[in-house]
Symmetry: C2
Subunit: 132 residues, 2 copies
């Protein structure tokens, strides 16, 4: 099979500008920001409403992609672990999954809370949330 190529559908605007300032994960964050979806894809947003929790996939364009073992949360006391047992941003395909609350929608801009992602990060998908 050919290697899949992702299409960027938008970009995140927020106030997290360094790894050091980023919450560890969405479940530990109340940081707010805006998902700008490019106008050509705005139609795909119909049906999303304020108050919903949505699942957003980001492409972590600044992450290393050649790492198979990491120290979980940077803590060296527990030893190295396989990346697939963690949510480390460094991984072969650096796709982050965030569950974000929709605060408001203005055309192709979604205000959200729960961000743990750097300002300027490309967005690749939004989905309805379900859970087991």
């Amino acid at each position: 099979m050919e290697q899949p190529i992702l299409q960027i559908i938008g970009v995140l605007h927020g106030d997290i500008i360094s790894r050091e300032d980023a919450p560890r994960n969405f479940d530990e964050s109340e940081r707010v920001g805006t998902l700008e979806i490019y106008p050509e894809y705005q139609e795909g947003l119909e049906g999303i409403a304020p108050g919903q929790t949505i699942v957003v996939l980001f492409w972590l364009h600044k992450s290393s992609r050649d790492i198979l073992k990491v120290y979980p949360r940077g803590d060296k006391s527990k030893g190295l672990r396989g990346v697939f047992a963690t949510r480390s941003p460094a991984r072969l395909n650096p796709i982050a999954i965030s569950e974000l609350k929709v605060l408001a929608i203005h055309g192709n801009h979604l205000e959200v809370s729960g961000l743990d992602i750097l300002d300027g990060t490309p967005i690749v998908d939004i989905k309805k949330k379900i859970s087991r």
Copy 2:
């Protein structure tokens, strides 16, 4: 930014061979199968244990990628909805997210349950599960 290119890390072996036979989502499925992770990435699995629920990202290589509106669950009575408000497999970047229970691990093969994905589908990532 250049368009991101995904690396396939493995392939799913299961008994779901048609859309018609596939459960609607992982939360409605007890179907079992095997995640074969390619040997060069096996090291990344260290730390995953039987009994855990893992988050698995699949690349739905047979899906349409040019669709922005869908009938949710194929039900035309409710009208069209934007793909980003759904979990339709047809979407610009057809990445599926499944939460799967690990039944057993044999080297680079993970037996899992909860599958809603077709046999032969490429795997692009595995993550630890967290939820809000």
